[in-house]
Symmetry: C3
Subunit: 208 residues, 3 copies
């Protein structure tokens, strides 16, 4: 398969998975149709919008590229009209979500480098691209972000973005510099889901 086409497909599949997670959460909070659409869109595109604002890419691609909006709207409408079917999709949605996480992190890091920013900016904003939408979703639903609590999620995005920046600095061939970090982030995220890896917590020591 053409490589650019594959990249675009993974990008839209990730957008779709992120939007499903947003729409499902909004539906559970009893938001109306518009709220579900809005949360789905923000979950899918919020991270990229913050990244674009921080690197000076105006207007943000999430607002100007109709494919993202359309993908998010389709995902949200599916969640509304075919909820039982979407519920059965849990496994593929998690798969797409992990793929989207890797791809968003790597794409975000590359875009920041492309705009001439340094490695720290690229790594941080790669991670923000991947997890920012999920954090915005939880902020709008008035709850502490799952992103900051659950299995290894943000850390996988950080690792993917860091590996992408490393590959760029070491002049890896483009295919490697793109897909190796994506697969690494995807693998780390998926393994943490499967084997219930969690980062340590410290809150309980208070009661001790």
């Amino acid at each position: 398969m053409n490589e650019q086409l594959l990249f675009n497909l993974v990008d839209l599949a990730g957008t779709f998975a992120f939007a499903i997670s947003g729409a499902t959460a909004a539906r559970r909070c009893n938001l109306d149709l518009f709220g579900i659409l809005a949360i789905a869109f923000i979950t899918a595109c919020g991270g990229g919008i913050v990244r674009d604002l921080c690197i000076g890419a105006v207007p943000p691609a999430g607002l100007s590229d109709w494919r993202y909006l359309l993908t998010a709207v389709v995902a949200a409408l599916l969640t509304v009209v075919a909820y039982r079917w979407v519920e059965r999709l849990t496994y593929p949605v998690r798969l797409f979500d992990a793929m989207g996480l890797g791809l968003f992190a790597v794409y975000g890091a590359h875009k920041a480098l492309l705009f001439g920013h340094n490695a720290e900016v690229a790594i941080l904003l790669g991670m923000v691209t991947a997890i920012g939408g999920g954090m915005a979703r939880d902020v709008l639903l008035a709850r502490v972000s799952i992103v900051l609590q659950q299995e290894i999620y943000a850390l996988a995005a950080l690792a993917g973005a860091a590996l992408a920046v490393l590959g760029e600095y070491l002049h890896w061939p483009a295919v490697w510099a793109t897909w190796l970090p994506i697969l690494f982030c995807f693998g780390l995220r998926f393994a943490s889901l499967r084997y219930h890896w969690n980062l340590p917590r410290f809150g309980r020591e208070r009661q001790a």
Copy 2:
């Protein structure tokens, strides 16, 4: 009446109504004087600030134009010193709020087009101009945004912004392209308040 003057008056009346809604909500949450002022200002100007960041209009007009700050401060102080009076203002405040909704949506869409962005950006950011402040208010007060739950509000802003962009593309005369979308948004919002129109919800199916 001079048309530009009318536009400015509606703009400031909308700012005033938005600030009143912010100050009232902040007061109910028992914030102190400064918190009330801050929430009033953010409710009135937050949407426009996000729009300006996304279209590259730096610094945001909400921060650099003293009339918005002054209007928000006056509205907040009135809510503090004359609460009973403000409570009796519910009806005019709702009227101004609906007018502000339409005007902010249309003005936001026009400004995005003026900065050379496409129709999707203009429609989305027109809506953000109108509802962003209310969403920021609810995020800061740690509650799920009313904007995403109540009668037709965000949808009216979206319709107003879309109509404004359509008018621009069809080269309607300036007066029509400005006021027709404002009145359409205002009418839709006001009718939904009066007749309790709501968008469908789907959260309850969970219990079924």
Copy 3:
């Protein structure tokens, strides 16, 4: 001591104190290690990032200068591995926090003026630099911001930023224009802590 060095030391001490407050709050909410790091960083750098976006300073210094990231990470790790020790630091942390508040407000106002913006923008964004990180921390932890409720905090930042802008317009000597507003903000904040000064609230009148 060299004056620039003193400025940098106070800047990093303030970043450290802000990060401690973020990490402590995140730990109490039972976030995992990554969540604690993220909240610490956002509390320390979030205000400056918003300021830089609003004045067009891309990329934001908080994302591109490794010293801020390092300081926040060290503060967060200390909060994790030496919590008892950090708890005993309450007093110095409050001291640093008040110093950071003044320095961030003054530095933010100066930077906005340097980028050619007007007095209103400089005063508002000076305050945002100082209190924005704390507000972001509370939003991410899904609670009404302490910044908008507790003793004189945001108001002290506002006063510091306003005094800095005044000094700039009156062409005070650089040392005065920098340190007088910092000390004024610090003193106001510290006195309000010591003597429990609070701004008036009005929420209770509802029950009356």
